[in-house]
């Protein structure tokens, strides 16, 4: 009886705490998403408009000041939101489609193919996202598409390994055997039993990977290997403002805060989703994903 009461207490207390995490995450993410959507229809200035005076501090005319060419920083920040989200969504889409497919193939395949795919994934995961991205940029040239492709491919290895492990765990359960003996085919098993069970965990990881891809894109752009001008990525804005950090600090601070808002929002969403998917999880234990799903960033 005591145990039941204690269990309920934990569940309700943590549930409240958890939905709060998700709400904050959604608000932060929504802020960036709204900015990006607005930027599609309206911008304060033309991004190429260099009419403003140089390195102006924030004012009513220029909310975030101007850069060293006199361009409006608020405009660039808004376009940056668009780019960050485009890279994130694009790479998550690539990572999810390739990753989940490959993971399922490995889980269903015979031992030889499974071992082969697993070994290949281990190598890809050992190959850090940023290095893989730089390799693809080296071969393809710097562009938004190269960045999306590279980050998405690196992500797909991580998602594939996760899907494979989760799927194998579920395929070994008795009710799958029961379902198979009663005549459900492979696709039936996948749609009815496998995907509904693995989806929550994969969704949590996709949210985390979204955040990592935003940082990876910013790093690439900072190194000059991301989307070329006139795409004002937050990473490139930081690179350009680096030299004038003392005279015009806003330019070197605002894009950084924008990145933190987006990534923090996504991480909080991931935490919130994980808690909803597993309400019995101890309050704060395993607040980070199991090590098996991670690779060097």
């Amino acid at each position: 009886m005591t145990a039941v009461v204690a269990l309920e207490a934990i569940t309700t207390a943590t549930r409240r705490r958890r939905s709060w995490t998700l709400v904050v995450g959604l608000v932060l993410f929504g802020l960036v998403l709204a900015t990006a959507i607005v930027s599609l229809f309206w911008l304060p200035y033309d991004p190429a408009d260099t009419a403003g005076s140089r390195l102006e501090p924030p004012s009513l005319a220029h909310w975030a000041g101007t850069d060293r060419l006199g361009r409006d920083l608020a405009t660039q920040l808004m376009i940056g939101a668009r780019i960050a989200l485009a890279v994130g969504i694009g790479s998550v889409a690539i990572g999810a489609v390739i990753g989940i497919t490959l993971g399922l193939v490995a889980a269903f395949a015979g031992r030889v193919l499974d071992d082969g795919v697993s070994a290949f994934l281990d190598i890809l995961i050992a190959f850090p996202t940023l290095l893989l991205a730089m390799l693809i940029v080296a071969a393809q040239g710097a562009s938004l598409w190269s960045a999306v492709l590279a980050i998405g491919l690196a992500m797909s290895a991580i998602i594939a390994r996760l899907t494979r492990i989760l799927a194998k765990r579920i395929l070994a359960l008795d009710y799958i055997t029961a379902s198979r003996t009663s005549g459900t085919g492979m696709w039936g098993i996948i749609w009815q039993h496998l995907l509904p069970n693995v989806w929550p965990t994969i969704l949590v990881n996709l949210a985390l990977q979204f955040g990592l891809s935003v940082i990876a894109e910013a790093s690439l752009s900072y190194l000059g290997l991301g989307a070329p001008p006139p795409n004002s990525s937050w990473g490139r804005m930081l690179k350009e403002a680096e030299g004038t950090v003392l005279t015009a600090p806003i330019g070197a601070i605002a894009p950084g805060i924008a990145i933190v808002i987006l990534v923090l929002g996504l991480n909080l969403i991931a935490d919130g989703l994980r808690d909803i998917g597993d309400p019995l999880r101890r309050v704060s234990a395993r607040a980070v994903p199991a090590p098996t799903t991670e690779g060097p960033r």
Binding site: S118, I123, P128, L131, M134, R286, V288
Partner: protein
């Protein structure tokens, strides 16, 4: 254990070979002749074929791959397309910057993260425990190069405490000067790395705190800290070692970006320069050495895990279900 090490060694070598194939294939099979990178627009046919002979792109892909493999085995890596200097010594010279940067950052990150992570777990109901957890949540959302920019503006440009970048020309002949130029980069990487490391230490500690063996031992009269040190540390260490391996590899990558912030002449800046100049031998060499480092660290972490936890020894990879 010996059998395990031998099997793991085979995995290491196979991974390395496969990784070099990936590096080679991605750089060569994609469209574009590296010879074009050497020449400007309007080069004559004779110049083009001379350039192709110089970079080796006139040979078949299999011949090129053979040359590439031979270079890797001998740690030769060929010559730079741009400067025509051998790549191997260049990499060694730059490792002198990157390796200390990586290792110092890693050690500092561990020194920060382990005690704070344990405090965050054991004192999670206190305000400072919660503050540490919140700070680490913020820390994993911050791009490492931004921390570098902010630290430069505060500690180097405003306060003039430390150099804002660069590295002594004579490397480590003056260790004090070398350390001074590495201080800010090390601090930058350590701040960001310790945030994610802290979260793993915290969750590993929480797992140990919730375990039945700890409760049993305490019910037999063991003191809290005594029990934690005697039983908790060893059990909690296993997942943390796995993460330490990944974190060390991540630190190495953090170095790639941070070197650009602080204009350090390390492997990272060599890689970025190589990519922008289409200097394939340089890119190949740096990527190979980086992959070797990452794989060796993974190898070391796997062995260390099994030394700490004998139960893992009969599995090839502790991660497999």
């Amino acid at each position: 254990m010996t059998i395990y090490i031998l099997r793991r060694l085979v995995v290491l070598v196979v991974s390395l070979v496969l990784a070099s194939i990936v590096i080679f294939a991605l750089l060569r099979l994609l469209p574009g002749d590296p010879a074009n990178a050497l020449l400007g627009v309007g080069a004559t046919d004779a110049q083009i074929s001379a350039a192709r002979a110089q970079v080796g792109s006139d040979q078949s892909i299999w011949q090129q791959f053979g040359i590439f493999l031979r270079q890797l085995v001998t740690f030769d890596f060929g010559r730079s397309f741009i400067s025509n200097l051998p790549i191997g010594p260049e990499i060694t010279a730059r490792l002198v910057v990157t390796l200390p940067l990586t290792l110092l950052s890693f050690v500092l990150a561990v020194i920060i993260a382990v005690p704070l992570g344990i405090i965050a777990a054991t004192k999670s109901s206190r305000w400072y425990g919660a503050t540490i957890s919140a700070a680490s949540q913020l820390g994993i959302a911050i791009p490492v190069f931004w921390v570098g920019i902010l630290l430069i503006s505060w500690l180097a440009l405003s306060a003039h405490l430390l150099p804002s970048g660069g590295f002594p020309r004579d490397d480590w002949k003056d260790p004090a000067a070398a350390l001074r130029s590495l201080t800010l980069p090390v601090l930058t990487i350590a701040i960001v790395m310790s945030a994610s490391l802290l979260r793993y230490v915290r969750s590993a500690t929480l797992d140990v705190l919730g375990s039945d063996y700890l409760r049993t031992f305490r019910s037999l009269g063991g003191s809290f800290s005594g029990t934690l040190v005697r039983h908790g540390l060893r059990n909690g260490a296993v997942p943390v070692i796995a993460i330490l391996g990944i974190e060390l590899a991540t630190t190495f990558l953090g170095a790639v970006v941070v070197e650009s912030v602080f204009t350090l002449p390390g492997l990272g800046s060599m890689l970025v320069l190589g990519i922008s100049q289409h200097d394939y031998p340089a890119v190949q060499g740096v990527l190979f050495v980086s992959t070797l480092f990452v794989l060796l660290v993974g190898f070391g972490a796997d062995i260390a895990q099994r030394l700490v936890d004998p139960r893992l020894r009969d599995t090839v990879s502790g991660n497999r279900p």
